[in-house]
């Protein structure tokens, strides 16, 4: 007897042995080595699988018309929501995309077995059901991967933002002495951020000397030099003195060849000499204690 709708057999299988499918799905995951018992407890895994399968069968019940379906459809909202949660958790715990896809694809075996039993040697029906399950689970896996990649991209983006902020700290070294340790590449966007941050801090701390340290800047080309000299000029306009420190012999020679003139900006080879100069300017000296 042929059922009315293409999904009837699949739904029958899901309804009659929901628990059995989950257990077997978990079992396949163990066999394929993608059940991360190091990251998830048994109860957690079982719970995730149950939620996913529930949403999956709801999607099949409501979201498959004829043999067509589209996971972007409203009818699949539940599955997408559960999947988003599960993926996010797994990404954060360091599960790989391959593990995640294999985890979803492992659902095929338990479904195939039960459909085979149900089909009772009606091969054309079995073939049709298997094809539909394959398409559904594959779409499910592809969707999972997409979520996974999005999730990772968000992490990368967040880290980039954090790095941008991290890389421009203005540190108060002493009373009225600030230092700005620059690291990496000084492009226009960062230079602007550095400058704003620096000028604001000069105002807040009533700074008199600012040390811009470029030990961590690998390449000083004309654009970087221009940003540095502009920042130095702005610092001077605010009434503070600016020292650029950390100019290595290589960078010094390169700057000379480029024809960069630092004008009246003070420069020092190391932050150490810059610091002792800066302290002197604000009226302090570093002295050895008597006991030593």
């Amino acid at each position: 007897m042929m059922p009315q709708s293409a999904t009837a057999n699949i739904l029958t299988v899901l309804d009659t042995d929901f628990k059995g499918i989950i257990e077997e799905w978990l079992g396949t995951q163990v066999k394929e080595g993608v059940k991360r018992s190091d990251l998830f407890s048994d109860a957690e895994s079982r719970n995730q699988n149950r939620e996913l399968l529930k949403a999956f069968s709801k999607g099949i019940r409501e979201g498959v018309a004829g043999e067509d379906f589209d996971l972007d459809d409203d009818k699949w909202d539940d599955l997408r929501a559960v999947l988003a949660d599960v993926s996010r958790e797994r990404v954060n715990r360091g599960v790989t995309p391959t593990e995640m896809a294999t985890f979803v694809l492992a659902l095929k075996t338990p479904l195939f077995k039960r459909l085979e039993a149900l089909a009772d040697s009606d091969h054309s029906m079995l073939l049709r059901d298997v094809m539909l399950v394959t398409r559904l689970v594959d779409a499910f896996a592809i969707y999972t991967n997409e979520i996974f990649i999005n999730e990772r991209e968000q992490i990368i983006d967040r880290q980039r933002q954090e790095m941008l902020e991290l890389s421009t700290p203005v540190v108060e070294l002493w009373d009225r002495v600030l230092t700005l340790p620059l690291i990496g590449t000084l492009d226009s966007a960062r230079a602007q951020e550095v400058m704003e941050n620096l000028l604001q801090t000069i105002l807040e701390r009533q700074a008199e000397v600012v040390i811009m340290d470029i030990t961590g800047v690998g390449t000083v080309d004309t654009q970087v030099a221009q940003h540095l000299l502009r920042a130095a000029a702005a610092v001077r306009l605010m009434g503070a003195e600016c020292i650029i420190s950390g100019i290595s012999p290589m960078i010094a020679q390169t700057m000379v060849q480029l024809g960069i003139d630092v004008g009246t900006v003070s420069t020092r080879s190391s932050i150490r000499t810059a610091l002792s100069d800066a302290l002197l300017t604000v009226g302090y000296v570093i002295k050895k204690t008597e006991a030593q």
């Binding site: 004309t222 654009q223 290589m250 060849q257």
Partner: protein
Amino acid sequence: MPLPSYAKFDESDLGAQVLLSQHRLKTSGDAVTARQAVARYMKENGASALSVTRFATAVSEIVRNAINHAGGGEFSIYVDRRRKTLTVVCWDNGPGIADVDLALSDGYTSGGGLGRGLGGAKRLAGRFEIRTAVNAGTSVLMSVNL
């Protein structure tokens, strides 16, 4: 009207060079990638720290020019293992340079920069050649001994 053409640097200018890598130039991040690729290769092949800094800075200047003035381009790194030289070619389809001698002279700037970039790159690189045509683009070739 067809664009005025100019001879970009190609294989015939390079001799027995092997292409190491090619980089798309679009954002300032691409400039960093190109520069780092050159620096990494030079370091791996025993170039001195000074030589690496000089050549990487020259590369930084020309790729930044392509990105800032021409809206992007392409950057290729070649190596001649026998003669032990590294050659880079940077080209763009930008506005080109009307007067190359003027552009190479210190203090000349078209866009508010220091006006040292192109001339500086020429002084920093061992070999520096430029081909350009107005409204067609600019192609720069630079070499350094490893």
